[in-house]
């Protein structure tokens, strides 16, 4: 249970076409991440799947059933919101129990399920507290608890970690991934953070201006971005793009090379180090190369270069990405 198919799904708000038409198949048990910049329509797409927004045209099928006109409650999906959206006047126990109570389950069964969920999420000691008395991470766990007790066909996550601090984000990211391993339920996860997308997803859907730019596994997108947008969006630091004569040498309008695929030492490009960021594990250099532009280069932690130093660089030839005038990848 838990495959979701979108066929030509459209959404317009008045004259604004937020989603001009999307086809997408999500397989059972997959961890799918919708990623894209702010305003690309990823949250809207999730809300269309949830049923919180009506679609303007198209069909949404959940487990083969047409769910287009079903209200959110009838779709068998659970959602975790960015703001957690916990019920502030209810204890943690009542928050987690709420969907079960709405489903009319026996109180003894509810108690058992809540206890199980609390155990999985390390919330057993907090069941009688109110959301206001919990930390951000604990609140997020309650929101997840409220979702898992329903045993839904799929989980929908709407930027669930963006209100947490960096350290907590990393650990919650791992917890959600582990949860997916344990439950093996379909999860759809929306984020603008490509690191979250890369680390968690089985399948990434890159969205831009309401359109799907590319669908694929994290490494597929990293190795073979379909266009300039995906190439620039996936990977951190961002891929270097070079146009003009240097690109023409490779028979392309634009060439792209990731910072980690530029070798320091010997090579055709000579430039001056503008900025050197020594992180210990890595060193990020901004190098001004005449005729090529400013390149970001990722070197080892022990690279001893500083501002003003001259350096020679070489792109790894097999890691060079070529794009045509329309910004599409060339084979």
């Amino acid at each position: 249970m838990g495959n979701i198919t979108l066929s030509n799904v459209r959404k317009s708000f008045g004259e604004t076409h937020v989603i001009p038409g999307i086809d997408l198949a999500i397989e059972e048990g997959e961890f799918v991440v919708f990623v894209g910049p702010s305003g690309c329509g990823k949250s809207t797409l999730l809300r269309l799947i949830a049923g919180l927004e009506d679609i303007s045209a198209g069909v949404i099928r959940i487990d083969g059933q047409d769910a287009t006109a079903l209200p959110p409650a009838k779709r068998g999906l659970a959602m975790v919101f960015q703001s957690y959206a916990l019920y502030p006047h209810m204890s943690v126990r009542k928050n987690i129990a709420f969907p079960l109570k709405m489903a009319g389950l026996d109180p003894a069964v509810i108690e058992q399920k809540v206890a199980n969920a609390a155990k999985v999420l390390n919330l057993s000691n907090y069941l009688d507290r109110r959301p206001g008395q919990l930390s951000g991470g604990q609140r997020q766990r309650v929101a997840i608890g409220r979702a898992i007790v329903r045993e839904p066909a799929a989980f929908l996550f709407d930027e669930p970690l963006s209100n947490l601090d960096a350290a907590l984000r990393v650990s919650m990211r791992q917890e959600i991934s582990e949860l997916h391993q344990t439950l093996k339920t379909t999860m759809i996860y929306v984020t603008h953070d490509q690191v979250e997308a890369m680390t968690m997803a089985d399948k990434i859907v890159v969205l831009n201006a309401g359109r799907i730019e590319q669908v694929g596994s994290p490494l597929d997108l990293y190795r073979a971005p379909a266009n300039l947008f995906v190439a620039g969006f996936i990977g951190s630091p961002k891929m270097n793009f070079i146009t003009g004569a240097e690109a023409a040498k490779h028979g392309a309008t634009t060439i792209g090379i990731r910072p980690e695929h530029v070798m320091i030492g010997d090579g055709p490009w000579q430039g001056t180090v503008g900025l050197a960021e020594h992180l210990g594990s890595d060193t990020f250099l901004k190098v001004e190369v005449p005729g090529v532009g400013t390149l970001t280069v990722r070197g080892g932690g022990e690279v001893g270069l500083h501002h003003g130093d001259t350096v020679r660089l070489a792109p790894q030839p097999d890691k060079l990405h070529r794009f045509d005038a329309n910004g599409l990848a060339m084979k």
Binding site: L52, P72, M79, F81, Y87, M102
Partner: protein, 276 residues
């Protein structure tokens, strides 16, 4: 630059705050003090007045001359009645404006508020004529209607700001959790809205209790609330300070007590939902 909160600074601020508080409260305090003096002592110079003997004479006279119980009861009926009526209209109105706003919702709210900017006396004559022709002069029903209408904009505004504070995502979460509309209202919306409704109710009771323009213009005796009771002691034949003070004290005492016990709710109400 962080603000230094030294001991001296804190002391100065505390003294200043208490002084301002005392200054605001002083007229009320003076009224209460004066109410315990005889009519002759009340008009003496402040120091002489304070040292003169205390007496309950004014209270006795006020009790004999007027029917405090009737006015008190009228005040209760008018303030509570108009508050309930205003809430019955304002809760659904604010609800729909907060959760299903239209294109003109903001304009509508501003228009409602604009009616509060007009001086009440501007419509005194038409109102008086309406009341006269419909036989509503000196009737509780008529005054409840007027008090409801004059406070309605504020009630709608307050409730609107409270309802706006309820995050839409929580309602969506309830919908995802399988709550029907009834369950959503019963288990999620109402418990979250009750504090806002309660403080709106309190503030409106106080506003209606203290309303003195329409209650003085449109009542004489039968429906007259405590404002009329106070006013009856400032007569053209001369001022009876002690009795006026005794009447005022009796009129403000109930609302002062109500206000004291509901301070927390009121402060929240007065900040109009600006502070979470």
């Amino acid at each position: 630059m962080s603000r230094k909160t030294t001991q001296t600074r804190r002391t100065v601020v505390t003294i200043a705050a208490w002084s301002i508080g005392f200054l605001i409260f002083f007229p009320i305090l003076w009224t209460i003090l004066m109410s315990f003096k005889s009519e002759g002592d009340a008009i003496k110079a402040p120091l002489a007045m304070l040292t003169s003997p205390w007496s309950l004479e004014s209270y006795h006279e006020v009790q004999e001359r007027s029917n405090y119980a009737l006015h008190f009861w009228n005040s209760v009926v008018l303030s509570v009645g108009s508050t309930i009526a205003a809430l019955i209209i304002a809760v659904p109105a604010a609800w729909s404006m907060a959760f299903v706003p239209g294109k003109r919702t903001k304009d509508l709210l501003m228009w409602m508020l604009s009616t509060k900017m007009m001086p009440a006396v501007g419509v005194l004559v038409p109102m008086y004529l309406l009341f006269r022709d419909f036989g509503l002069l000196d009737s509780r029903a008529g005054l409840v209607a007027v008090l409801t209408l004059i406070n309605l904009p504020i009630v709608v505004w307050m409730l609107y700001t409270y309802f706006k504070e309820i995050p839409g995502e929580i309602l969506e979460a309830a919908r995802m959790d399988g709550a029907s509309l009834r369950a959503e209202i019963l288990y999620v919306l109402t418990p979250m809205a009750v504090p806002g409704i309660a403080s709106t109710m309190l503030l409106n009771i106080i506003l209606a209790w203290n309303e003195a323009f329409w209650t003085l213009q449109l009542t004489t005796s039968k429906a007259a609330p405590l404002t009329q009771f106070i006013a009856s002691y400032s007569s053209p034949e001369g001022l009876f300070y002690a009795k006026l003070s005794a009447a005022s004290t009796m009129a403000i005492a109930p609302i002062l007590i109500l206000g004291w016990f509901s301070q927390k709710q009121l402060v929240r109400g007065l900040t109009f939902g600006a502070v979470k």
